[in-house]
Assembly symmetry: C2
Homo-oligomer: 199 residues x 2
DNA sequence: TAGATTGTTAATCGATTAACAATC
DNA sequence: TAGATTGTTAATCGATTAACAATC
């Protein structure tokens, strides 16, 4: 969604101390058309003033609210490999109100250790711990072969959304929101687009 | 691009020893419409046989070729944080013919060390080393504040494509292929879609 | 009032789906 | 020949852009 990109741009614009911004300015800043910006924003309400533009702080607040970023979220992380570890230190998580409240892995060497003050638990405990901590979001960073099993456990544990980093198509019921952060696809789009230009 | 997803599905189908597959089967396997599958494939050539379907191995080979995955690619990695480290061990890279041929960072403690047999070099050497090793793809895993500077260096070094993991809109000339792997946007789409369902 | 910029309607564009003739 | 399934054309849908009246 483009709202997310607008939000980021507004953060920067606000930091520069700019008070008011036009759809044209936003459009130029993020690389879309002014009409698109106005359409996107108008869909959620009348945030601007005709002849003037949008109040930066005000608009930003509204977008954050629409994106659900004024809420606090409990996240569980399944799979503590390099990627999982990278996520625990990812600043963007905290900035958006995401709190990693539990970490699961099935490596005995990792179970019982603490990462950022959170104890690593065996994956068998997902169904017990996730509901307990009112966790809404599960991040899957296990190998592709294990991802579906983990997804099933998360669904049973009544998770609301899954952020899947494993390169595999997961099967979850429609009421569970699923996002795939798939590096493979990105790599392939990259080489596909490169295709014509290179040998 | 959906081709990437088809490719993955065909790998699995092939492993099961299936010889021929219909557009309907593929569609069901990856969750799109049969017409879409046929349209996508027909765009690149006539890979199927009417009344029969597609030969799995044959189709897969064709898709790999179209995606540029039968080539070998030289990749440089800039930024050796947790995420950068995760990428060096990412199996999907090697599987697709991506070779990390150089790693750059500006932390003196990291410079000179070896990761997977590749020496970590100072970022100042990008413009020298990248052309030397005929590197086509640059992966940026530095903090957002440094990303544009790195991108500029890569462009000067004549890179063909950039895979950007920093949550920032990069400015590169149109002839450089740019892909953003933006976790922030994914998080925000997630909470946005969750918005209606939750408090 | 004149200039600027929004919100919105209408026109355009592209992508998806439905339908079917071609053909194995 | 009858059944199946492709490749492709036409119909549908949705998203983007252009244009402009409303209004600050």
């Amino acid at each position: 969604m483009r709202l997310s990109v607008y939000s980021r741009y507004l953060t920067e614009v606000d930091r520069r101390g700019i008070i008011t911004i036009s759809s044209g300015d936003i459009a130029e800043g993020v690389g879309v058309s002014p009409a698109q910006v106005r359409k996107d924003l108008a869909y959620f309400g009348e945030f601007g003033i005709r002849g003037v533009g949008y109040n930066v702080k005000d608009l930003h607040r509204n977008i954050l609210r629409i994106l659900g970023l004024s809420n606090e979220w409990s996240v569980c992380l399944v799979g503590l490999g390099n990627l999982g570890l990278a996520l625990t230190t990812y600043r963007g998580f905290r900035e958006r109100g995401f709190h990693i409240t539990s970490i699961f892995d099935n490596d005995p060497a990792k179970i019982g250790t603490f990462v950022n003050g959170v104890e690593v638990l065996p994956v068998e405990m997902i169904e017990e711990v996730v509901p307990q901590r009112h966790t809404q979001i599960g991040a899957i960073t296990v190998p592709a072969s294990a991802a579906q099993t983990i997804a099933d456990k998360l669904v049973k544990a009544n998770i609301k959304a899954i952020l899947n980093f494993a390169p595999v198509v997961l099967n979850v019921p429609p009421e569970v929101e699923l996002r795939n952060v798939d590096l493979s696809v990105n790599l392939e789009v990259l080489t596909f687009n490169l295709g014509g230009k290179m040998a």
